[in-house]
Amino acid sequence: MDIDVLVVATIARALAFATPLLWAALGEVIAERSGVVNLGVEGMMALGAVTGFAVAFTTGDVWWGLAAAGLAGMLGSLLHAFVAITLRADAYVSGLSLTMLGLGLSALIGRAWVGRPLPDPMRTIDVPWLRELPLLGPMLFQGQYVLTYAALLAAVVAWAMLFHTRGGLVLRSVGENPTAVDAAGLHVRPVRYAAVLIGGLLAGIGGGYLSLAYRPSWGEGMVNGLGWIALALAIFAMWHPLRVIVAGLLFGACFTLAFRLQTVFPPELLTMLPYVFTVLALVFTAWRRGRLAFGAPEALGRAYLRGER
């Protein structure tokens, strides 16, 4: 295979592979920036995937399916928000139980649809004009899904909202020092609820991408740890939406490149790679963090109760 063909194909595949990670990691960045860690990403993605598929299958319209996927993710995150924010239960365990519940429920709901292909899946698009570009055209602008571009756009929008608007300022402040926000006369909990719900919405869309576009079908192992990888990605990107893009594409490129080595390695070991990369990425982040003195949002994972420190 020609080297430039290889590069082009790898990057094109990387984009497609990274899309669900981008959606979910972006959602987690928003949630964690408000100080609420949500380990339920895996479960929310599974719920999104199965609901999206079921609705698209029934209505015949993938866009209804996608809306349903987002809504399902959001409903899952609402459960987490209630338990972790209102009840002030341990956010880590709450998210974990959301994952277990989401995986179980999605498998239960999706039984009727296992092994049935989606008759009318999401179509790939070619971007007019840009598709003609040499190299860049086939690399980035041919045969991708709208959701891929939407994910990139969402990352930019999230960045602008987080760092250049008042709402974003409040959200970040809630994650850093809720007491200061309270003292400024603003309410902590609604902000956290909103952030967690947005996170759920995005994770649901990421799940929907899997079952409506990437592999238009439903199976129990569909999410297969992508939610957990997205969690790691949020850390790897140091909670910055634009770095999520970079990190996501880097991940995607690593995986797809590794899969090119199929002739050399047995497939089981290749499937293992994303998880190995994730561990390595976390180790790298920890190592770099030691140098940059930059860490997670200060109040991450701590429930807020006025009067508690």
């Binding site: 200061a180 400024a184 006025r306």
Partner: protein, 520 residues
């Protein structure tokens, strides 16, 4: 200050009452703050000052009583409503987001800041406020890089920009150098000269005397006296009101006879050229080539504004942190240096006791029983440890006697430590740390937040430990405490020991200059 026309009070409190389980934090407080007036609220730690301020700022709802604001009834459900009326609070611990810039912190306080790029429109207003009151600030600086004085300036500017006509300052000078205190007072005078009002909460007599127009003294949640500057303020009189007895009697006359005995004692704690690096900090090492000797029986006070290396000094002596360079010797030996270092345990075994700054989070484990907390730092040693096991009966016996000896008010030794009052938590810590006759005692802010009785008991315990031959290092922000307890005072500034002097000869003014880093 406009004596001609009879003015309406800006803020008026009547019969404000606030109870917490077991405490009456505020017991029917009346207060009138006039326009153009600095109204000082004076009281000891625990007198109810902070609660009162939180009521005024809408953070705490009073159980009873009423408030009026410029003649109209005032009901506050949240700080936001207080801000809208024109009440600004500069809390003792700042409500700032450390990793945000100054401008972002200011924007957070403005509900009417524009949605898109909220910080931009603030810059002209920040400029205006800065010029009007002489409060220069770099809007792009990150708060975590600012000194405590600069952070306070951010809080003040925030309140002023929000249109505060009443500024409440809670112990504003505790983190400031003397020069910064003067600058703050100048700002406040300019502010009241415009007809605005200030409520100044403090327990420092000298400052109140200098700044206040009216002084209200609180004791145990109740107003015990009110004095006006027009009639002259007398420091002794205020002190008597505040403490409830003569201050002269409170400060023990310790005499200098001990000086000779101390001089003959052995050096039990010796720091030589200790440096502690602070990664990620712009200002260089947190502690820089500090050397210090403390003899048995001696109490050395560490004076200095917070953040000048005190916590690093304490951490190094107590073994919580390894020095980047230099040595810490206890009784002539370095406990567990190099590869044998086992953190605080080496120091504990070498006889170093620590009464930590944060008594509820570090000093005790709140969920564990009093007995287990009494064993916290000694569980690996006899009589508690038996090989790999712990003899809980021995722990029970020892803690029972400690509870009696140290007069710890607890239902039983099985009660979780977090149900104890601050004073009793401190007694648990003192019992654990001092009961084994340590060679070196490090006490950090040992009386902060304690009531009068607990304070004097703590002082007695520390003096007794020194009397039994321990070298005592006392770190406190309360200069009066440092001066009254210590034999010698060492001043830390910018991570260096810039001066040491005999406490008896220490002149507060010279001390203040040294604390500010000005060589005398």
């Amino acid at each position: 200050m406009n004596p001609e026309e009879p003015l309406q009070p800006r803020l008026s409190l009547r019969g404000i009452e606030k109870r917490y389980p077991g405490v009456r934090a505020l017991a029917g407080v009346d207060l009138d703050v006039m326009p153009g007036q600095v109204h000082a609220v004076l009281g000891e730690n625990g007198a109810g000052k902070s609660t009162l301020m939180h009521v005024v700022y809408g953070l705490v709802a009073p159980d009873e009583g009423s408030m009026t604001w410029e003649g109209e009834p005032l009901r506050l459900r949240s700080p936001r409503e207080a801000i809208a009326r024109g009440i600004g609070l500069v809390a003792q611990h700042f409500h700032l987001v450390e990793r945000h810039t100054v401008a972002e912190n200011l924007a957070l306080g403005f509900p009417d800041a524009p949605f898109w790029r909220p910080t931009r429109s603030l810059l002209p207003r920040l400029q205006a406020a800065a010029e009007r009151y002489g409060l220069a600030l770099d809007p792009g600086a990150q708060v975590r890089d600012l000194s405590p004085g600069e952070r306070q300036r951010v809080e003040i500017v925030k309140a002023l920009m929000q249109g505060a006509r009443l500024l409440v300052l809670d112990e504003p000078t505790s983190v400031l150098t003397p020069a910064e205190v003067d600058a703050l007072f100048a700002v406040l005078r300019r502010f009241v000269a415009e007809g605005s009002s200030v409520v100044f909460v403090s327990h420092k007599l000298a400052e109140v005397e200098v700044l206040a127009d009216v002084v209200t003294v609180l004791r145990r949640g109740a107003v015990v006296g009110r004095r006006s500057a027009a009639d002259g303020l007398d420091r002794r009189d205020l002190a008597r009101l505040m403490v409830g007895r003569d201050l002269a009697a409170a400060v023990a006359d310790r005499g200098r006879a001990r000086a000779a005995a101390i001089a003959a004692g052995p050096v039990r704690l010796r720091l030589t050229d200790v440096r502690v690096d602070a990664p990620g900090r712009a200002q260089g090492p947190a502690l820089n080539v500090a050397s210090l000797e403390v003899r048995g029986g001696e109490i050395v006070g560490i004076a200095g504004v917070a953040g000048n290396g005190q916590s690093e000094l304490v951490a190094v002596v107590a073994g919580l942190r390894a020095p980047s360079a230099g040595t810490v010797e206890v009784d002539g030996r370095e406990p567990g240096s190099g590869r044998r270092r086992r953190g605080a345990r080496s120091q504990v075994d070498a006889g170093v006791a620590l009464v930590p700054e944060d008594r509820t989070k570090v000093g005790v484990v709140g969920d564990l029983s009093v007995a287990r907390n009494l064993a916290l730092r000694h569980a690996h040693r006899r009589p508690f440890a038996r090989g790999m096991w712990i003899d809980w009966q021995a722990v029970g016996r020892v803690s029972q006697s400690a509870v009696e000896a140290y007069d710890i008010a607890t239902p039983s030794t099985g009660t979780p430590a977090r149900l104890l009052s601050g004073g009793n938590v401190q007694k648990v810590i003192l019992a654990r740390e001092l009961d084994r006759d340590p060679g070196v005692v490090v006490a950090v802010h040992p009386t902060y937040g304690l009531d009068v009785a607990a304070t004097s008991q703590t002082h007695e315990r520390l003096l007794a430990a020194a009397g039994r031959g321990a070298a005592v290092l006392l770190v406190s922000e309360d200069l009066d405490e440092v001066l009254s307890l210590s034999d010698r005072v060492a001043v830390l500034s910018g991570g260096r020991v810039v001066a040491t002097m005999a406490a008896a000869d220490a002149d507060p003014e010279a001390l203040g200059l040294a604390m500010a880093g000005v060589s005398a």
